[in-house]
């Protein structure tokens, strides 16, 4: 192998002329050792470089020689190379021609106006995003209306498929999550309420918090993570491979064929998932209350039916369809923003999840204020 024979360098410095002798293979592997020696050469004196005994020169070596020549000639001194075989000469010429000439990218100073403009752009972008999401909601309603008038255009098989994907397949994770939340609430509630001897109110605590808030909110968050990302990835990869454009040229409406079945499936399934979450949460709470506080299932049931207004359950469940629309629309909208490269698919998928979870929590807060105001 060429690197077995080590490269050597001899530098003889005289006042009038510096002579350098290079031997062996001058390749990229030798560069680390040679470069500091070259950099230390005095400027302004003529340099003669003897390459008679160079066994191999690669572009890195040629680059080294060319930079030295440019440096020496730049300082006004002369530079000569001795003993060049023709093929090395042609490589040197080629590298000399290709030496990069740095061009500074135009750097514009950032002024106050730029900063204000950036804030403005951000605001306009944000408003545009909200408007475009509302536009997607309108498109969903319009296509749904059209599906009612022209049932043959509606994709029932697709709807059933998505119901299975977003509903049925999410049941285990949602039920388990909610069961554990019920357990945690009962356990924490018990240890706090025991101080006041008010253990039995743990039933009210569990019932109100799960039925009214946690059951549906946590279900929506899980579904947002699970389904919004799936919608974005599926639609985004179709967008990436121009399948959406192909659908349009074939006279198929992407909104009718892709968005309506997905969003509608979520719209139908999320309340059911919320109901399952409520049941699993209550079950977990009842189990823990029984073990920890000795509240028997019978007593739990009586206390639940007597002490908890059915309004709590309705308030919780009425939020589910709204959350479903938010998640579905954000998922589909993000999918359509995917550009033609894989990075944007990944970016949009994670953005969709964050936006869906955030929007669900914001909507929940708005609901809370609303129900507090009307006194439900």
């Amino acid at each position: 192998m060429s690197s077995i024979l080590a490269p050597e360098i001899t530098i003889v410095t005289e006042p009038a002329c510096t002579s350098i002798v290079l031997r062996g293979p001058i390749t990229i592997y030798a560069l680390g050792g040679l470069e500091p020696r070259f950099a230390a050469l005095p400027l302004g004196t003529a340099v003669s470089l003897d390459m008679t005994q160079v066994t191999r020169l690669d572009t890195a070596g040629a680059w080294l020689v060319t930079t030295l020549r440019e440096k020496v000639e730049g300082s006004g001194a002369s530079f000569e190379v001795l003993g060049l075989p023709p093929e090395i000469q042609s490589l040197l010429d080629n590298v000399g021609r290709a030496m990069p000439r740095p061009e500074a990218a135009p750097v514009l100073p950032r002024t106050l106006v730029d900063r204000v403009a950036e804030v403005g752009k951000g605001v306009v972008g944000g408003v545009g995003l909200v408007l475009s999401l509302i536009g997607y909601f309108g498109m969903f309603l319009a296509r749904l209306g059209r599906a009612l008038r022209h049932p043959s255009e509606f994709r029932l098989t697709s709807l059933v498929h998505h119901c299975q994907e977003v509903g049925l397949k999410a049941v285990p994770i949602v039920a388990l999550m909610s069961f554990l939340i019920g357990v945690v609430l009962a356990f924490q509630g018990a240890s706090q309420l025991r101080q006041f001897g008010a253990e039995v109110f743990v039933v009210d605590l569990i019932a109100v918090s799960i039925l009214r808030e946690l059951g549906i909110l946590l279900t929506s968050i899980i579904v947002a993570g699970r389904t919004a990302s799936a919608f974005t990835a599926a639609i985004g990869s179709m967008k990436m491979r121009e399948e959406i454009d192909a659908m349009r040229t074939l006279g198929l409406d992407p909104a009718m064929n892709l968005f309506v079945p997905r969003i509608l499936a979520l719209f139908l399934m999320l309340p059911i998932l919320g109901l399952i979450a409520n049941l699993a949460g209550l079950f977990g709470g009842a189990l823990m209350a029984w073990i920890e506080l000795g509240i028997s299932p019978e007593m739990f049931r009586t206390r639940l039916v007597e002490g908890t207004d059915v309004n709590h359950f309705l308030v919780g469940l009425v939020k589910a369809p709204v959350f479903a629309l938010i998640i579905g629309i954000i998922g589909c909208h993000s999918g359509m923003q995917v550009k033609s490269n894989a990075e944007s698919l990944g970016q949009m998928t994670s953005k969709a999840v964050v936006a869906a979870i955030f929007s669900v929590i914001v909507a929940d807060a708005v609901f809370s204020i609303f129900f507090a105001q009307i006194g439900v």
Binding site: D58, T59, W63, E103
Partner: protein, 267 residues
């Protein structure tokens, strides 16, 4: 160096590749000589890319020996393989640039393994490579997704050439380029291979590339290398596939064009 210029740089003997029961190559022999540009052609599914991947060590062969630069890859240990791998470069079809790095950083990646090379030097060398493949200086700061297909291929070539390899493998270098871009790329490969003394192993479908730059052509058919030879030798081969490949309307047009260009140069 143990190998003399007469020795083939790549020598494949009795190669067999199979996927499940599907036999791709069987008893395949091929030699690539130092300094030549070898074009590998063959119908779709004849395993051109598989052959490239096998020689480049990306796919272990079921049987057979591959000797590169005097080292038998099937018996070489880890260190010997590493030493050989630093002496070849591979350019994949769409460049296969790392998307999270800029073009310059992509070209610097192979240089990171070299002891004693300062970051500033690596950067300067990367800039030189970028310039040598005909990309503008500012392209170095761009990310692969910001480049056109032709520029990505050039950047991929720059990365393949980062360590001045002796052998370059090119997988369909001109696929997906417009005719002008493809012709430029052909000339780039030819120019670089002459000035750097490269041995080029290229897989292609492009008849113009075969005419313009390949010293020798290897035809892959019937699970082996059917024939090798220059373009003009190919024209006299009697095998039906080879005949229809090199006498088809597209081949005729490419040949006429190439002859026209060379006779114009002669005037």
């Amino acid at each position: 160096m143990s190998d003399t210029p007469i020795d083939p740089v790549i020598s494949v003997r009795g190669l067999r590749n199979q996927f499940g029961t599907h036999l791709v190559h069987d008893k395949l022999d091929l030699d690539v000589k130092r300094g030549e540009i070898l074009g590998v052609v063959g119908g779709s599914g004849t395993g051109k890319s598989v052959l490239l991947r096998t020689i480049a060590g990306l796919q272990p062969p079921a049987q057979g020996h591959i000797t590169v630069l005097g080292t038998d890859l099937s018996t070489a240990d880890e260190d010997a393989r590493k030493a050989i791998e630093s002496r070849w470069g591979v350019m994949f079809q769409d460049g296969a640039l790392f998307s999270s790095l800029t073009v310059r950083e992509n070209v610097e990646v192979p240089m990171r393994s070299i002891p004693g090379l300062s970051p500033a030097t690596a950067r300067a060398l990367a800039d030189l490579k970028i310039s040598m493949v005909g990309l503008p200086y500012l392209a170095g700061d761009k990310y692969p997704s910001e480049l056109s297909g032709g520029m990505r291929k050039r950047a991929g070539l720059a990365r393949a050439l980062a360590l001045d390899p002796e052998i370059v493998f090119l997988d369909e270098p001109t696929a997906g380029l417009d005719p002008i871009g493809a012709a430029d790329f052909d000339q780039l490969i030819k120019g670089l291979s002459r000035s750097l003394g490269l041995t080029v192993f290229l897989v292609t479908h492009d008849l113009d590339t075969l005419h313009a730059i390949c010293d020798r052509i290897a035809v892959l058919a019937e699970r082996k290398v059917l024939v090798t030879g220059t373009m003009h030798e190919m024209l006299s081969i009697d095998h039906p596939w080879v005949h229809s490949y090199f006498h088809g309307p597209r081949a005729r047009a490419a040949l006429d064009h190439a002859d026209g260009v060379s006779s114009e140069k002669g005037k």
